[in-house]
């Protein structure tokens, strides 16, 4: 579409005519303008979704807010740029956004060839298939010959290719740029199957005419570690994003919540004290105040709170913690120590 051409062209033009210095010192730029410019999706409930008044919420959005709070002490000091899957990397490379927090899968080629760095994983996901209950299909292995709707520019379209090839099945791929069109086309019956990250399936199912008439097949065909992305070559900014995210995980592990973060500053646990800045000054090493983590947690809460509020069992998405539980509870969320 015109827009992607424009983003692409602007990105290309930016590379031609700007100085190489543009990539350095993102923190200084952010401080100077007073807010974090955060790249998010165009509307994926539970991850990044605007309400009727244009207020964004979601797991990915909360990461942006946590970063803003760690820097400015204000979780509202963020501006959001909705990006399609196709536009997202160009937008980050060209400096249009400071941080990409948009259900983006960490892969080796994205990490090494695009001039980008993944700063962690805030949701462990995997790709699944959704299909009409009336089709009477119970396994992805019965999908040979199916028409499959998905988003362009995603790992999704590559995984589905691998999966069908490996299982010697044939399929027709119908790939749209915008998620809304994928949903509409699937809803209109253009495709038998809708495939994307399992979390995305649960989120997008809410947008269908009759969500109850669709089910998700049991097969999960890929690993989709979703996480925040920054430009290569600015280690300070990379560290900030990485450690803000880690702080939310460690906060959950140590029972620090949005509500009790102030009292916890005087906790007896030295690890908690170091994290919240009442002992040592770890903020300094990333260019922030000593209470950087306390400010982030005060704004959005710990990882468990973020998860429950946006995608957890009590939300319309109703996703259980599963592999996204803390390592102490059998999950994969494991934050390196702050010391």
């Amino acid at each position: 579409m015109k827009k992607i051409m424009l983003t692409g062209a602007l990105g290309a033009a930016a590379l031609v005519f700007t100085g190489a210095a543009a990539s350095a010192a993102t923190l200084d730029d952010v401080k100077a303008k007073g807010f974090v410019q955060c790249g998010v999706s165009q509307g994926l409930p539970g991850f990044s979704n605007p309400d009727a008044d244009g207020n964004w919420s979601g797991l990915d959005v909360d990461l942006c807010r946590a970063v803003a709070a760690a820097i400015f002490g204000d979780g509202e000091a963020v501006k959001f740029t909705p990006l399609s899957a196709k536009e997202r990397f160009t937008a980050l490379q060209s400096g249009e956004v400071d941080l990409l927090s948009r259900n983006t899968t960490w892969t080796m080629s994205r990490d090494t060839q695009l001039g980008l760095n993944f700063a962690g994983v805030n949701y462990y996901d995997g790709q699944g298939f959704m299909i009409r209950t009336s089709m009477d299909i119970n396994s992805a292995l019965e999908l040979s010959g199916a028409s499959i709707c998905t988003n362009t520019g995603t790992t999704t379209e590559l995984n589905v290719a691998d999966y069908f090839r490996a299982n010697n099945m044939d399929y027709e791929l119908v790939a749209f740029e915008k998620a809304d069109e994928v949903v509409a086309a699937y809803d209109a019956g253009r495709c038998d199957v809708y495939t994307t990250d399992a979390s995305g399936l649960y989120a997008q199912r809410l947008k269908l005419t009759n969500p109850g008439e669709h089910k998700v097949l049991p097969e999960i065909i890929s690993k989709e570690p979703l996480g925040p992305v920054v430009r290569q070559g600015d280690d300070q900014w990379f560290n900030i994003i990485k450690w803000v995210h880690i702080a939310t995980i460690n906060a959950e592990e140590h029972g620090v919540t949005m509500a009790n973060v102030e009292e916890m500053k005087s906790s007896d646990n030295p690890e908690v004290k170091r994290m919240l800045g009442s002992e040592g000054n770890f903020g300094e090493s990333i260019g922030l105040d000593a209470d950087w983590a306390a400010k982030a947690i005060a704004a959005v809460g710990n990882y468990g709170e973020i998860f429950d509020r946006n995608v957890g069992p009590d939300t319309p998405l109703g996703i259980s913690r599963g592999v996204n539980a803390l390592w102490t509870k059998g999950g994969l969320m494991y934050g390196p120590p702050i010391r």
Partner: protein
């Protein structure tokens, strides 16, 4: 020019002597050279700066990716394409051919619809001219992207699910996965039919030339159109049967999810084609109307006075003159249609912008290479179209006799 008359010793006679800097010719050259040097310098700086930036940002660059495996499927391809082994270079070709497929057929359809509507708007029949006016005013005033969505989701909602789809027997199947037509499979000896067709075309052309020359010389009319058409139809047909009818049909059959076999027109292509051609036709209709109106009424009267009836008057007198006015703006519409085909990315039609400047860009991350190549491609398509139309325009231009 006066300047060249200046004599070296410049005495009083002739043009007055001017300082070199004030000499308009010299000054012109100096500025041109300065500008050229500046442009070359900027381009060079831009290029080196870009390379430095790419390297500093750790972004891969170069054209090597064109030879690597793409790994994603494409829903429509005019050439052999396999997601397992095809390269990004092939993705580019597939995308380009899909762009051309929708643009070329779209241009033909838009021209036909546009001419019909344009003439209809001038009709003396109130109903016909009003309908044509409504067509033009509504279609050219609604944003194209919206029309594409309306057609696409309209087509999808209108057509039944594959299992309840229309079955036209040997003529194919129609459902919301597309139109599945029988595919001709040529057997041995089929090339003779092709040769016969080419020969028939040459004959038809020759007959046309001869008939025109004879009419010029003697005034006798020869039905060259009918004879030509007959040759083109019957000569290959006879050869086809004599060579043993080397043709069979691959008829699509309903499979588990969707029909297999035959040739497929996917809904994205159908929607895109309808949207582009009807939209562009609304502009072409206005161009045609303007062209016809611009031909002086006296021409019609003169033709009638010479005894030409209405049909031949339009065909032999009005249209040829109107064409001179129609062709240049028509060219712009053709270019617009081609470029507008890039909107197809919104409805999953796999053309150049979608599969190459979209998916391939995202998978490789090589924005500079891919966007430049894409822009260059559109530029080339547009220039070739313009060249062809200019050539045609020169042909139909009024020849002064």
């Amino acid at each position: 020019m006066a300047v060249t008359d200046v004599t070296p010793n410049g005495s009083g006679d002739g043009a007055p002597k001017v300082a070199l800097l004030n000499n308009p010719e010299v000054r012109g050259w100096v500025f041109q050279i300065i500008l050229a040097v500046l442009i070359v310098y900027l381009a060079f700086e831009g290029w080196t700066n870009m390379n430095a930036n790419l390297r500093a940002a750790g972004i891969a660059s170069g054209w090597g990716f064109l030879g690597t495996n793409a790994g994603f499927a494409i829903s429509q391809s005019l050439i052999e394409y396999s997601q397992a082994s095809s390269t990004y270079g092939r993705v580019y070709i597939v995308g380009l051919l899909n762009t051309l497929a929708v643009a070329f057929v779209g241009i033909i359809l838009a021209t036909i619809i546009g001419f019909i509507v344009g003439v209809a708007r001038l009709s003396k029949n109130w109903m016909v001219s009003r309908l044509a006016t409504v067509y033009v005013e509504s279609l050219r005033n609604i944003p194209l992207l919206l029309q594409i969505f309306i057609w696409y989701f309209g087509v999808l909602r209108l057509l039944p699910q594959p299992r309840e789809g229309f079955d036209f027997g040997p003529l194919g199947l129609l459902n919301n996965r597309g139109f599945f037509a029988p595919k001709p499979v040529w057997g041995e000896g089929a090339e003779f039919t092709l040769y016969a067709f080419i020969i028939a075309c040459v004959i038809a052309w020759g007959v046309g030339r001869w008939a025109r020359a004879r009419q010029m010389a003697t005034g006798q009319i020869f039905p060259s159109f009918l004879v030509g058409l007959g040759t083109i139809i019957f000569l290959p047909l006879i050869v086809f049967f004599v060579s043993g009818a080397p043709l069979s049909w691959d008829i699509p059959k309903m499979g588990g999810f969707r029909p297999s076999g035959g040739m497929t027109l996917i809904p994205e292509y159908i929607a895109m084609l309808i949207a582009l051609s009807t939209y562009t036709a609304s502009f072409i209709a206005e161009i045609v109307r303007a062209g016809i109106l611009a031909v002086n009424r006296g021409q019609t009267e003169a033709a009638n006075a010479l005894g030409l009836r209405n049909g031949p008057t339009l065909r032999l007198v009005i249209i040829p003159q109107a064409l001179r006015i129609i062709i240049p703006p028509l060219t712009s519409q053709y270019l617009n249609l081609t470029k507008n085909s890039s909107l197809a990315v919104a409805i999953a039609y796999p053309e150049l912008t979608s599969v190459f400047a979209g998916t391939a860009l995202n998978q490789t991350g090589q924005a500079v290479e891919i966007i430049s190549l894409t822009m260059l491609t559109y530029l080339t398509i547009s220039l070739v179209t313009s060249l062809f139309m200019n050539w045609y325009n020169n042909r139909v231009a009024l020849v002064e006799r």
